[in-house]
């Protein structure tokens, strides 16, 4: 049994092997690996008696699942209109400058990925972004530098 198979097996034991268990299992894989690999999708398909295409379809549908390997810290900048009016572009420029990557890319050391997201519901405190599950609001280029420096020092 590969490492992936064991991970999936544990999640299947926890959430069950019915079709409705698919989403919690995918979320479980994402939490552990920051993306859903093709091996994981095949393993899930086998365990749940689904086609692997089916699992792929679901994995690509949800914004907070991903089939492309991402960094340890996934930064998602809100791209919706209110954050945009609060100068989200300046935030993105700053992030791209500090991290030396474009939106959609991952740093070479696989520590950071930079993505856009739809509305986070923090319009009153825009611009806003997420790093993994944590929200950061009222962003300015200065606070961005502090936040990223803090994350750079984390393991």
């Amino acid at each position: 049994m590969t490492k992936t198979d064991m991970m999936v097996k544990e999640l299947v034991d926890k959430y069950g092997s019915k079709r409705e268990s698919l989403l919690p299992i995918l979320q479980g894989v994402y939490d552990l690996e920051h993306f859903v690999s093709d091996e994981a999708m095949v393993s899930i398909a086998r365990n749940l008696d689904l086609s692997s295409a089916d699992v792929y379809g679901k994995s690509t549908f949800y914004s907070f699942l991903d089939t492309i390997p991402r960094g340890k810290f996934v930064i998602r900048v809100c791209k919706t209109i209110v954050c945009d009016m609060h100068d989200k572009n300046q935030i993105v420029d700053t992030l791209e400058n500090i991290l030396k990557i474009k939106v959609g890319e991952t740093t070479l050391n696989r520590k950071f990925s930079l993505l856009y997201t739809n509305c986070l519901g923090w319009c009153h405190k825009g611009p806003a972004m997420l790093i993994n599950d944590d929200v950061y609001t009222d962003l300015t280029p200065e606070t961005i530098r502090e936040i990223i420096t803090d994350y750079k020092n984390r393991e």
């Binding site: 093709d38 999708m41 792929y56 690509t60």
Partner: protein, 599 residues
């Protein structure tokens, strides 16, 4: 009283309609011949309601209603053709066109495309919306059978529903969302690398040219033009009852003679009949079944796999290779009639007419997309050459007849050429679900008992029709001496069509609860007449017409049992001298299967 309570009435365009509760607005409108345009809707599939082309106005409702998805309610007042409805539909169609690769002039589905028809019907102006067609979309031509062009996809998901609901294959899925949504395979892999069984049902359910068969007729035109080549074509039974639809005839028209004449006019050197090898299949497969029964019942050999399952349908064969690789022993080792034909064309036939096999180009006219893949299987070279050089669909043959400028309605009938051109009614019915079983029973029963199969005029009604899984049982009594071990045995058979039904049958085998001796499975709903290479549209009404034509042809035949085919007797006398399942037949007419990945 219960039944009356379930009847409700609605008013559509001022006409009162009484319908059963639960009927959709679309169905109610069709009942009174009010046509509502549709795109994502297909009779064979579940409701999707995603294209919204079928919107109608319902009095009291705030928004327009998608009629395919909305059930009628008591006293609903529905209008299907108001300016508001027409303008909404026109806008919806224009939006679909704005995302579409509108190179209709070079599209294979041109004049048979639902989007093109709608755009024309609603007089959509191409410039209403800017084209937002994504640039750089590559056509996937990796599969021998199926071509996938996402630039022509309207994302109605009929293919996805077909692959899931009718075939239980799920090779394609809806991936991503919103503007990025696309019909994709697992990890967007090329079609030849996924579990696709090549049945082509997605093609005949696709409203546009996004999914089509790989076309090979240009190669065949080349071969016909090459004087050194001797080009033979064998035509499957389902092609002759459907080809008319490509050329202006109603479904189920009898145009066999015209088809043969047209193919001769096109320039095929010899027009032969797949039915000939269908008869041969019955003799080989029947012998194989009796052999398996003997080993199991008389010799009590438990290693013999029963029930035995037919192997004529290449979509089904690839399905079992992917989904039940541990049960391949249940498949008959017989090649499909197409491949038997190919193997004999470049050996027996070549010898007879005195042409070198390397100069023979062997073409098959098939109702099928999977036959293209089958022809290219590496093991299908038992003549020493590729046995079948190309499998063409009914649609491709229709195109060739049009390209040749032949007036199909004017042309007079012609007969199949000889040597592998004779056939019986038993072979014709291969085209309909249950046909192989019926043909096999006609021959096997007579071999075992020396008498006709005990059904009125040889018509084995229990295995006919469109029910998903059909069963029959025949009691074997007063058997001939050679088959005395079958005395009193009740031969139990089943017939399944559509791979979702195949799965039911296979799950029984997997659980060890299958009560049958012999099973016929066809990948496509309705059998070959509903195959993925058949004219579009194909739905249950069309399937029934084609099936009717098949059984009428059978009833008209003088010979209706495969073993009575004189050319079959001849080939066993002259060429396959060691008989059915003998050494030579084993080499040319039988095959083996490959275990494939399910995920």
């Amino acid at each position: 009283m219960e039944s009356i309570k379930n009847i409700i009435s609605v008013k559509i365009n001022g006409i009162d309609v009484s319908i059963e509760k639960g009927t959709t607005i679309l169905e109610a409108a069709r009942k009174i011949n009010v046509r509502i345009p549709t795109l994502c809707h297909h009779e064979d599939l579940c409701v999707a309601g995603n294209c919204r082309v079928c919107v109608v106005e319902v009095e009291g409702a705030k928004n327009l209603t998608a009629s395919c998805a909305a059930p009628c309610e008591q006293n609903m007042v529905i209008k299907t053709n108001t300016p508001k409805v027409r303008s909404a539909r026109k806008d919806l169609i224009a939006l679909l066109v704005s995302e579409h690769n509108t190179q209709c002039t070079t599209c294979y589905r041109s004049t048979n495309c639902e989007l093109q028809a709608l755009a024309s019907e609603y007089n959509v102006d191409n410039n209403t919306y800017l084209s937002v067609l994504k640039p750089g979309i590559q056509v996937d031509r990796s599969s021998w059978s199926i071509e996938k062009d996402d630039s022509k996809c309207v994302r109605c998901q009929r293919c996805v529903r077909t692959c899931a609901e009718l075939q239980h294959v799920n090779a394609i899925t809806v991936a991503h969302k919103g503007k990025d949504m696309k019909i994709s395979t697992f990890m967007d892999l090329p079609m030849n690398e996924v579990v696709c069984v090549n049945c082509g049902q997605c093609i005949i359910h696709c409203p546009t040219g996004a999914l089509t068969e790989r076309r090979y007729f240009d190669d065949i035109w080349e071969a016909i033009g090459d004087e050194k080549k001797h080009v033979v074509i064998n035509t499957a039974p389902s092609v002759r009852v459907a080809i008319g639809e490509m050329l202006g005839y109603a479904p189920g028209a009898h145009v066999t003679g015209k088809m043969v004449a047209a193919l001769k006019k096109i320039g095929f050197d010899s027009v032969l009949d797949t039915n000939y090898t269908a008869d041969l299949t019955i003799v080989e497969e029947g012998t194989e079944l009796l052999g398996r029964l003997k080993s199991k019942i008389k010799d009590e050999d438990d290693s013999v796999a029963l029930p035995m399952i037919t192997s004529c349908s290449p979509g089904w064969v690839k399905f079992i290779e992917h989904m039940y690789p541990e049960h391949l022993a249940h498949l008959s080792t017989c090649k499909s009639p197409q491949q038997m034909f190919g193997a004999l064309a470049k050996t027996y036939y070549a010898e007879k007419i005195g042409v070198k096999p390397e100069n023979i180009v062997s073409v098959a006219a098939m109702p099928c997309a999977a036959k293209k893949f089958e022809a290219n299987r590496p093991e299908m070279k038992s003549s020493g050459y590729q046995d079948i050089d190309a499998g063409l669909t009914t649609r491709e043959i229709g195109h060739m007849i049009k390209q040749a400028g032949i007036d199909f309605s004017e042309i007079s009938d012609s007969d199949f050429d000889s040597i592998m051109g004779d056939s019986t009614g038993a072979a014709i019915i291969f085209g309909a679900t249950g046909g192989v079983m019926e043909a096999a029973l006609r021959t096997a029963y007579e071999l075992i008992t020396g008498r006709d199969v005990p059904f009125d005029r040889l018509n084995i009604e229990p295995v006919r029709g469109l029910e998903g899984i059909k069963h029959a049982a025949v009691k074997l009594e007063n058997c001939l001496e050679a088959y005395s071990f079958l005395e009193g045995v009740e031969l139990r058979v089943a017939v399944a069509h559509g791979l979702k039904n195949a799965r039911v049958i296979m799950d029984q085998i997997k659980d060890g609860t299958s009560p049958y001796h012999f099973i016929e499975i066809m990948a496509c709903p309705g059998g070959c007449i509903g195959g993925g290479g058949q004219p579009i549209p194909t739905n249950d009404k069309v399937r029934m017409e084609r099936i009717k034509a098949i059984y009428e042809d059978d009833a008209d035949c003088k010979l209706r049992k495969s073993h009575e085919n004189p050319e079959i007797k001849q080939i066993y006398d002259e060429f396959l001298k060691d008989g059915p399942l003998g050494h030579k037949s084993h080499k040319l007419l039988h095959t083996h299967y490959t275990k494939r990945n399910r995920y």
